[in-house]
Subunit: 345 residues, 4 copies
Amino acid sequence: MIRFDCDYLEGAHPLILKRLSETNMEQSIGYGCDEHCDNAKALIKKICDAPESDVHFLVGGTQTNTAVICSALRPHQGVVSPETGHINIHESGAIEATGHKVLALPADEGKLKANDLDRYLTENENDPVREHMVQPGMVYISFPTEGGTLYSKQELTELYSVCQSHGIPLYIDGARLGYGLAAETNDLDITDFAKLCDAFYIGGTKVGALFGEALVINSDKLKKDFRYIIKQKGGLLAKGRLLGIQFEVLFEDGLYFEISKHAINCAKRIRRIFENKGCGFLFDSQTNQLFPILPDSKANALLEKCAGEIWCSVGSGKSAVRFCSSWATTEEKLETLEKTVIEIL
Amino acid sequence: MIRFDCDYLEGAHPLILKRLSETNMEQSIGYGCDEHCDNAKALIKKICDAPESDVHFLVGGTQTNTAVICSALRPHQGVVSPETGHINIHESGAIEATGHKVLALPADEGKLKANDLDRYLTENENDPVREHMVQPGMVYISFPTEGGTLYSKQELTELYSVCQSHGIPLYIDGARLGYGLAAETNDLDITDFAKLCDAFYIGGTKVGALFGEALVINSDKLKKDFRYIIKQKGGLLAKGRLLGIQFEVLFEDGLYFEISKHAINCAKRIRRIFENKGCGFLFDSQTNQLFPILPDSKANALLEKCAGEIWCSVGSGKSAVRFCSSWATTEEKLETLEKTVIEIL
Amino acid sequence: MIRFDCDYLEGAHPLILKRLSETNMEQSIGYGCDEHCDNAKALIKKICDAPESDVHFLVGGTQTNTAVICSALRPHQGVVSPETGHINIHESGAIEATGHKVLALPADEGKLKANDLDRYLTENENDPVREHMVQPGMVYISFPTEGGTLYSKQELTELYSVCQSHGIPLYIDGARLGYGLAAETNDLDITDFAKLCDAFYIGGTKVGALFGEALVINSDKLKKDFRYIIKQKGGLLAKGRLLGIQFEVLFEDGLYFEISKHAINCAKRIRRIFENKGCGFLFDSQTNQLFPILPDSKANALLEKCAGEIWCSVGSGKSAVRFCSSWATTEEKLETLEKTVIEIL
Amino acid sequence: MIRFDCDYLEGAHPLILKRLSETNMEQSIGYGCDEHCDNAKALIKKICDAPESDVHFLVGGTQTNTAVICSALRPHQGVVSPETGHINIHESGAIEATGHKVLALPADEGKLKANDLDRYLTENENDPVREHMVQPGMVYISFPTEGGTLYSKQELTELYSVCQSHGIPLYIDGARLGYGLAAETNDLDITDFAKLCDAFYIGGTKVGALFGEALVINSDKLKKDFRYIIKQKGGLLAKGRLLGIQFEVLFEDGLYFEISKHAINCAKRIRRIFENKGCGFLFDSQTNQLFPILPDSKANALLEKCAGEIWCSVGSGKSAVRFCSSWATTEEKLETLEKTVIEIL
């Protein structure tokens, strides 16, 4: 069986494994204070045009989200998220476990709209019994969203403007940032993320690394003592240089962007495979996750040969199924998928 | 100005103050281990026909809800609540502050429906990625609800049956239990609450006491070490006998039920006052909270003379306004309200 | 049996009960926004000569300590406390339940010494692996201490100076503040507390009130959004005016100081009763709690007639036993104690 | 400069890197449900002779400790630890951040003594005000301890017997388990750990892996829903197979034990190097961490050439310095250390 059910099926880009081998017997001080981390941080700050930002490396996304959010909030505050946000659904209550409510707002194709946010924040500020309610203290969005959609530069600019006018920091979960940046319809540059939010992370786990996320903190208020928080949340890897080395490889020669582009090309191919059979899609994804809607009977037959993840039932005996491309998707697997889809659907 | 905006406007029923004065110079051991507490517990267990239940006294509702819920849940669990539930909206994130998500389900007139709950719990149990989601570990409802509505005996029986079939305890917030029991349409008896849920509390703050709630724990699994939790959450009153004394007065001669009945009679009068002017209501409340819908212009004029709480806008220049009766509502105030409503609306 | 085992044995000073009765049928808005609270706050600010401080009323000490400490700390910070501090021993882990370590330092007669604190804070700041340790973020002390001892003005000044030089706020638990101020050896005035710490509370529960503590926040940094925290921690009493009324009575004519003085006079008498029988004391208490050391055999006989609290064994078949006076101690009870001690020891 | 300051200086044993490369383009389902994890779990259960135990893989030690401890405790409980325990000192308050106090008991050479534990637990159970104190709910020890010392089989048996007689689970932090098992004075076998505690972990990070710890849960009560907890605490690695592969390599042919033995041999050499110069040691370590006591002046000169970690001052101008061996220590580096020590001391 071949798999397309997620974008963390394989190990790492071979260049990363190669570098890990080459550096294996170097001796480094621990916990991310080594030269590889320093170098990777400098590369990321340069590529983001963000000399004043802080960069930290963490092992995974849940950890990163938890650390940033709990570090930013006071006890009576919560984090605003689109209702489809990863922190609201698929992190086993990690945010709440640190004491904070996820304040879920309606989402449009997975995206939080500036108007909705502004209305919510304004109403909250004016509520005479607001002290009995959770105070919004941060806004969380994902780029790309969990449905593969993208904020345009205009949308992100407006959203950040709303946040700033209410004095609330904006944090962007970039678990698949590379795939968002590489999308054809995208008009945001990585340097925009240093300007249009208070913190964001550059996902490595799903974009070529064995594991690891690079958190970029733009806002001074969020920088203080952040390493304590990483340590407390179990995210301070003893051999921190493993993270530094991986991000060095990803960012020293543009590998991150190159492999993201590859995944997007593969995703276009997957989209066509299903479009050709007349399938509709759950979201209008422009990135590496696609959610074709399939009759349940056919879906089961297909998934036995080409794994996808059943996302949700959409009624009438049909379900949306997630198929992902990634840096590791091969031409050969795409061909098998195409053949199988043609055969079964 | 006279007030109807809530049901905690006055002090306590005069008999309670009298008893507090009479017992004032008695010496009691602290923290609820005194004879007044013992006696009040025995009275409540008897009146609930619940000889095996544990009774604890806490100062207020948020404390009680927090203590029960955090005591029952493991770290990865959350508490299911109708979306309008008090814990989901008006307790400043107290539940989340103990590490647990409030899992909000749609509410119908403030009530959680057994079918909706069953579907949600079943779907969660069958979800292949349920380990990435918060596990439901308790169900919370209010009787009466925040909108003044009531579960029928049939509805409560069905709801509890769903909870039991999924192995999840049911907890009932009875901040206004007396007013629910006294309602004309109510078909539940206080003894039913010892049989149809795992824990519930008998609200004193809003029903005649200066302050205080009597928590009744029916389920053995929820009993263990509960006093530690009360202490940790700041709910173990040093002079615990103050709570015992108040509940002695409320339950030794049926005072709790008698003053609740009075409030319901007053509520019927308030309902008629607004109905007579052709007002609709936000909820079909059968208890002491009424939510007439008033044109905003008239509402403001009315509230300057007779305080009510603006609950929410309902569009078209109209708002629902909460007017409450209580044990303390006087004929005189009702007359003033009637006159003013007639004058202004 | 008569009791001296703690200072919360009786109800409230009769003037408080009288006022509660007189105001009982007034209608007040809830949650501490009423005129009685406003008036009581003004009285306290005046008597503390602290026009810029914020005053809040909470129900009990554990709640107050928890609210202040969790509000002040970031997630990676802890609160320094003498090892004998109430928060470190007798609050069932309330502070830890909000996510923060109590950093216990050695205590001398229950007191934290400025030198010890300075050394600890300096070492922590210079520790190369401090990010792996809990960062001290607040200092907690009690006045009087749990052993009845007092900080002199010089000691408190030095301690606060150490806190300020390290940028860490100082918070003082004044559960028995009145008894400390009334002590003969005390050289601190209540106005000093508005200058020599960032926040402190004036205990009511143990000094004449039914319940209630008045928190005074001097530092601007600790003021923001504090009512949200009180609500979240279950400390925002619905009928907040009950707290306002009690503190009005205590502070409008000096009642708080007068009844404290009475308790101190009674304590001197208790001290003499035991000294006359040659007893030593566990702590050199200058306030209303005394800890005479008694042979275990005699202690048991005595406690059957005059309750005291066995504090700890001191070896050699002897134990320290706590005897407390309070605003409610009567001449008659003191005489009985004296007679019984003479008889038994 | 060469380094001996910790045991996580290098990457991973070459066989692990080789296997990661060989398996790199395999497609595995995520989050530890893959065949490599299944296989590694089976290997570990076999080698521990623990067919009924559950095995989970987590990324690091702080995460593992936090997940186990917070999963086992109810809100009012704390975890007993020797005062030198890692969770008490060097995890940035990770345990407290989940709401639980670390109950520190005196340690003897880093070890908790069965008698001390028994006395503490008994006193707590008998304390009349125990509800005001944190209830001990788990016992944590390390094997080897943070000072490199070891519990004998007799000591561990006694300790576990005390835990069992008080109904409290015992958890063992085995960050350096391999080095403990390989020590000459050790009389415990890895199979003993499946019998003499309720849960323990087999450290990979410090013993040959890039990262990763294998948690073995023996007690049924601790098994339930543990994967939810791992996910919530950010420990469920997306590419879980990376952990499975590493533990397959470590345990399929005894590599874990072999490289541990190597480290112990190197440690003996380091010990002799310092003994030959007449140095004393802070702890009587039998494992891979050694704490020679050096004059501060000489220490600084030495550490410029051969890095060690200054552990603590021992007074009189002397400090204890940590030198570690590991699976990666080379003969060449040992020779350099020896030469340098001879030269400088």
